[in-house]
């Protein structure tokens, strides 16, 4: 009890230091608790939602016209999977929608009718309109929970699908629980009426769209892999199944959705590690100083009969109490933050989080913090044993110096404050190790955050630059239209810088890889503007391909290697000539020449014009001028109202609408019509329909990346502020500890005529060597971690911004100097006689 009282007394006299340690341990406990309580939440939410929906864990969809019953049988014969649900679904890739607020959104959609949904899952409805209201709906749609949780839709809202310029308005009947197809990468399963389903079977055909045979089954615990399955399918059909095959599984959706959450969580763990390390080092530093400062007091206590173990415990209790307060505050914070975390995780994964608060984990994290502090405090406080009473009375050997005189003043040059600071630094270099570790750890994280914040400062522009994909507006032409002549016409339009004729991108299989590649094709890569060559060279010949660092990481494919790319019934060997990195398709891209692409897909025809707009020209402005030039495009015609104007105008509008539908959906290339009304002949043809659809890479990127960019930007700035506060606290503790430890010396120097500012400068300059070296080490560490992070998280190469890092280094060093200088300011408040006679 006496020992505890002694600890409380010490605590009272070290209020500021105690507050700093409370801050560090609070931050540590908070971040650790949030990490431990939430790391498994999202994962559990997945399995819970699959269980609640009665969903299988895997699905493959194959275009119906390509599907064979043997494909289903293969699952049983080759992989032992017997419980297979077979049904139909319409796949609509990157389908544009207009929501209730008139905003454009793009969702890859998988449409099923209610009968199919009940075969696939239990069709568990959540929030919905009343049965009477649903009855009255002409076009009801049931959406997966993502739309309610993440997108904020409500029952009764309208959601209008737009295809080929035609609008298909739906009213949201409600939301239902689903396992598969509740993910931005793999699409959303939407339940629509039988009539709408039949219509969509017609509307969505061609390209990546169309009705598919869908097989739902549980693959976990079996030998099933997509790669093996496709190989088997292809071996029995002789066709390139991958070209018309879609897959989804709980594993894929988790990888896609949890990537960002896990990244955030591991960052929290990393940061809590840094603050924990700082707190422990500071506590050890403080205990060492306390023991040295209170040596005579230790001698007195020992002489009075206190055992050294008891005296050690008085130091340990002091810091355990301090860390305990910090841990309690951190744990309380974690409990407060928990509902926010649940909301955040739900929004990110679009699934309800069923575990509300992991109270046990939160409490455990607090205990871990206290336990670590206790262990390290015990280790350091054991030093008391070294000092029996007589030695303690003599203040140990603290003031004894026998070593070499480093930087003798008679040979010194320049400022005396710098010289004395350096002398002091070299004389106490061991104490700098702890400071160095703290600055390296916090500095690495700060520099990482600086680069991340800079990368995201202009929203998604940074991410766009790492896509290795040109920022273009793709104009898709109707069948039969000569792309080269239209390309020339568009190139002449105001606001257009240049145009290139392209092929529709495809996902192509690569032999011995489970990762299909998304194709990028150029006649000449000198025309490409946003493809960053990392190593080697761009492909120039028809047997050359450029791949990515992600493929190198996952498949081991390097420059000079050969890969076999599978098309529709073809297998073609390519030599890898270069390496880039891309944020798209998990970094799995294939860059080929036009001739190379034709070897893989001999039946493909170019039907895309990639339009490069001039600076300052918006997508809307371009669309407007494009509509002016090709005024009666399929899109415009299908949207045109036929209720206004004269009878002849209304008839022409109605005819144009029909022509647009036929040309865009059925590949009809030329139609003539003639209508006779009251003896008047109204004629027309489809030759003025040229453009099928427009898509802007920038718009798509904005929709999918804006959230990540915003969270990353503000998260980085927030982390930077917290970490800077940690550095400030550490340096403040070191500075105040130095003042306290060197009161006598500082008093003597004040007596000699050194001003408080001189002495503050000396204390600040003393930490500069360790700060500068630590910041340099931190820069290299940040470069390595930043690069590893981008490769792991996005399959791309992240480079530290060198000039910015150097600037940040300088600011960090200056920050450390200023914080230490200010923290040493307590010298000012102490009179020279008071300091000297302490």
């Amino acid at each position: 009890m006496n020992i505890l009282r002694l600890s409380l007394f010490k605590l009272k006299s070290h209020k500021k230091e105690a507050a700093a340690i409370v801050f560090l341990t609070m931050i540590t406990a908070l971040m650790l608790a949030v990490f431990m309580a939430n790391i498994s939440k999202a994962n559990k939410a997945y399995y819970d939602s699959f269980a609640q929906a009665g969903s299988k864990d895997t699905c493959v969809m194959i275009f119906k016209d390509k599907y064979r019953d043997e494909y289903k049988n293969l699952l049983e014969t080759e992989f032992g999977i017997t419980d297979i649900t077979e049904t139909e679904a319409v796949n609509a890739d990157s389908l544009d929608y207009i929501n209730n607020s008139g905003e454009e959104r793009t969702y890859t959609s998988v449409f099923v009718n209610e009968k199919a949904e009940r075969k696939i899952e239990d069709f568990v409805k959540a929030d919905k309109l009343s049965d009477e209201e649903i009855e009255k709906l002409e076009h009801p749609i049931w959406l997966p929970m993502f739309f309610s949780i993440s997108e904020g839709y409500e029952p009764g809202d309208t959601l209008t699908a737009c295809k080929n310029g035609r609008e298909y308005p739906f009213t949201i009947a409600g939301f239902y629980k689903t396992g598969l197809y509740n993910d931005s990468g793999y699409g959303y399963k939407m339940v629509i009426s039988d009539n709408d389903y039949e219509l969509f079977k017609l509307v969505f055909s061609g390209g990546y769209d169309g009705e598919c045979a869908a097989l739902f089954f549980d693959s976990e615990g079996t030998a099933y892999t997509d790669e093996a399955y496709i190989e088997k399918c292809e071996s029995i059909s002789g066709e390139g199944v991958n070209a018309y095959y879609y897959r989804d599984s709980v594993r894929f959706e988790k990888v896609n959705s949890l990537q960002f959450i896990n990244m955030f969580m591991y960052f929290l763990a990393f940061f809590s590690g840094i603050t924990m390390l700082s707190a422990v080092l500071m506590i050890m530093h403080r205990i060492t100083n306390d023991i040295e400062d209170q040596m005579q007091q230790i001698g007195v206590l020992e002489a009075l009969g206190y055992r050294s173990r008891e005296i050690s415990l008085s130091y340990v209790y002091e810091y355990v109490i301090t860390a305990g307060i910090g841990a309690v505050l951190g744990v309380a914070g974690a409990f407060l933050v928990s509902p926010l975390m649940n909301t955040g995780i739900q929004k990110m994964i679009g699934r309800p989080v069923t575990v509300k608060t992991e109270g046990g984990m939160i409490l455990l994290s607090g205990l871990i913090v206290v336990a670590l502090v206790t262990v390290f405090a015990l280790i350091k406080a054991a030093k008391v044993k070294k000092y029996p009473p007589v030695v303690a009375f003599r203040k140990g050997i603290r003031t004894h110096h026998f070593g070499r005189n480093i930087l003798p003043l008679e040979k010194s040059k320049g400022n005396i404050n710098v010289t004395l600071a350096m002398k002091s630094f070299f004389g106490d270099i061991r104490a700098a190790v702890g400071t160095a570790v703290c600055i390296i750890a916090a500095g690495t994280a700060i520099l990482f955050c600086v680069t991340t914040a800079d990368f995201f400062k202009d929203g998604i522009n940074g991410l766009i630059s790492m896509c290795s994909y040109d920022i273009v507006t793709d104009v898709e032409l109707l069948n039969g239209i000569d792309p080269y002549s239209v390309s020339e016409e568009i190139a002449e339009m105001p606001g257009v810088r240049k145009t290139l004729v392209k092929y529709q991108p495809k996902y192509l299989s690569v032999n011995d890889s489970q990762w299909p590649g998304y194709t990028v094709v150029y006649d000449d890569y000198n025309d490409a503007e946003n493809i960053n060559l990392i190593d080697g060279r761009f492909p120039e010949h028809d047997n050359e391909v450029m791949t990515t660092v992600a493929r190198k990481k996952y498949d081991g494919v390097d420059i000079g290697d050969s890969i076999v790319i599978k098309g529709n019934g073809t297998e073609t060997k390519f030599i890898v000539t270069g390496m880039t990195s891309s944020l798209m398709n998990n970094g799995m891209m294939l860059y080929m020449t036009t001739e190379g692409y034709r070897r893989v897909c001999p039946d493909a025809r170019p039907n895309i014009i990639s339009v490069y707009l001039k600076d300052g020209v918006t997508q809307e402005q371009f669309e407007e001028s494009l509509n002016e030039k090709y005024g009666t495009s399929a899109k415009d015609s299908m949207n045109a109202s036929s209720s206004d104007g004269t009878l002849e105008e209304r008839i022409r509008a109605a005819a144009d609408e029909k022509l647009a539908l036929l040309t865009s959906q059925y590949g009809v290339t030329n139609i003539d019509y003639a209508v006779v009304i009251d003896g008047q002949v109204i004629t027309g043809n489809s030759r003025h329909f040229i453009i099928k659809d427009l898509s802007s890479f920038m718009s798509l990127a904005e929709q999918s990346m804006n959230g990540v960019a915003t969270v990353s930007k503000y998260g980085s700035v927030g982390a930077m502020i917290v970490l800077s506060a940690v550095v400030a606290v550490i340096l403040g503790l070191i500075a105040s500890s130095n003042v306290k430890r060197q009161r006598r010396k500082l008093g003597i120097m004040k007596g000699m005529g050194y001003t408080s500012k001189d002495l503050m400068k000396q204390i600040a300059i003393k930490i500069m060597p360790v700060t500068i070296v630590s910041v340099i080490i931190a820069s290299f560490a940040a470069k390595y971690i930043y690069s590893a992070f981008w490769l792991m998280a996005f399959g791309t190469v992240g480079e530290l911004n060198i000039p910015l890092t150097i600037l940040a280094d300088v600011i960090l060093v200056a920050f450390c100097y200023v914080v230490t200088y200010i923290s040493a300011g307590k010298i000012k408040a102490i009179s020279v006689t008071e300091l000297m006679t302490e």
Binding site: I416, G427, K745, M752
Partner: protein
Amino acid sequence: MASSVLRTEKLCKSFSNGGTQQHVIKNLNLDITEGDLTVIMGSSGSGKSTLLYALSGMDKPTLGKVYFGDTQIHDYSNDQLAQFRRGNCGFVFQSVYLLDDQTVLDNVLTGALIVQKNTPKLVNKAKELLKKVGLHEEDWKKYPNQLSGGEAQRVGIVRAIINDPKILFADEPTGALNSASSRDVLDIFTEIHKNGQSIVMVTHDLKTALRGTRVLYLRDGGVVGDYRMPPYGDDDGQERRAGLTAFLEKMGW
């Protein structure tokens, strides 16, 4: 007539102690003459050291004025006082207060380099002064813990005079020394004083006081006696001793 080097007007210094004010120096008017070795004596708690620190700009007075020549120093900030001290004052303390982590020579130079540039002349001066007080080359690289009390105090004296201060302040410089060391140290002070150095020294030792030219006696924060010592004669200091003893007896010492 020698001019005044240090002067106080109604100097007061008080300390707050548990909520009550303790007035240590009370309305003290004092003149310190250039070239004097002024000795301040008094019983314990009479305010000797407090006066010394207030005179030297080590501490700020609570009230009153301190003039160093024509310069008012009583309203200086702490940093201004430090800058003032470095050019004008030297200090020798009972506890010596050497910097433990610096060698003998570095202790001297630390005091010098805040005022002067590092030149061979300065270093030679430091070495010459050390030699003069009996510390030779083999001692210069020693650390304070390797020195005897007398040796340490001699280093303290060299450190105090290296910048040629206008006044040298000494607070019981022999208080912690044995008699032989005390004598050596006092001889050094006498030697320095003979060279024209103004010295203000606090002591309660008669032998030390005998080295002075003027003795002030403090009681309850005020100067109650001011004795001008007779010059050295041929009587081996008998007259000085007798005069000082009589003065101190009169003061109730």
